[in-house]
Symmetry: C2
Subunit: 161 residues, 2 copies
């Protein structure tokens, strides 16, 4: 994601107006590695601009996604998460307990459909989601499902969150 100043220019250049609310959201996203939900961005932004509405947050996040400045992703935590990191190729690791999401900077050059297995699909991209438990949740207590599943195909997290 560009800096708040660059985003300001970009918004003006694309015919969008720049408001205090939007700049606040730019600042909130800047350097955020938590892949916040719209609600989380809303909470953070409200600490600066008290009267900002959730709708404005959604609107601005969708604008940023449309401009390619952030990425919206759905990793099965029940709500869309937003990732300001679009410059580096990366994947994601998700805590199945608390829903925490972090970037994984690793290149997997072998992730490619074997010839003939594409079912007629014209594949353009591949995402990998690693699921497990974050350090905090491991420390917090023994999860009943914590046994190692040795990289099998997995289900969603424990029904929601």
């Amino acid at each position: 994601m560009k800096t708040p100043d660059e985003l300001t220019q970009l918004f003006r250049a694309t015919g969008r107006k720049v408001t205090a609310q939007r700049q606040c959201i730019f600042r909130v996203l800047q350097g955020d590695v938590t892949h916040p939900s719209a609600e989380a961005v809303f909470e953070a932004a409200r600490r600066d601009v008290e009267t900002i509405s959730l709708k404005t947050v959604y609107q601005t996040l969708n604008d940023l996604a449309e401009l390619g400045e952030i990425t919206s992703l759905d990793v099965g935590t029940g709500m869309t998460r937003f990732d300001p990191n679009v410059d580096d190729t990366h994947h994601h690791v998700v805590c199945r307990q608390c829903g925490k999401v972090r970037d994984v900077y690793a290149d997997f050059p072998d992730i490619r459909l074997p010839d003939g297995s594409d079912l007629g699909f014209q594949v353009g991209s591949a995402e990998i989601v690693f699921r497990g438990l974050c350090a905090e949740c491991v420390a917090a207590g023994t999860d009943p499902v914590a046994r190692d599943q040795t990289l099998a195909v997995s289900t969603n997290g424990p029904s929601g969150q």
Copy 2:
């Protein structure tokens, strides 16, 4: 997923009762490779048992998922999809245009977090989602976003569905 008869036994063995509605759902799921949504299962089941309710479909799908007979997955199409195929290790390919989901039977032994990049996560599984256009959507017309993104990290589909 087990056969409808085996599921009937399994439901009884786990203290669940077997009803016409549930057996209908078993039959609907049997051999289904479309990864139907609850709504889709509902539509199909209603052709057999006209008075079945959507709630019952959700209930039964959740029961089956709890028993490990189906897998619920969220691939960013806006609703939970259900996969009766839990026996083989596989991944998924998703059409970014129409939301079609299909299984990909390919083993990727190299999908493993490099040492030190796990961020403290205790990773148990990895899922790969390939995104692109299905044959029908390719044939149906030129998608404005159809240019090859050469396996970069991708976003969700075009905002929903």
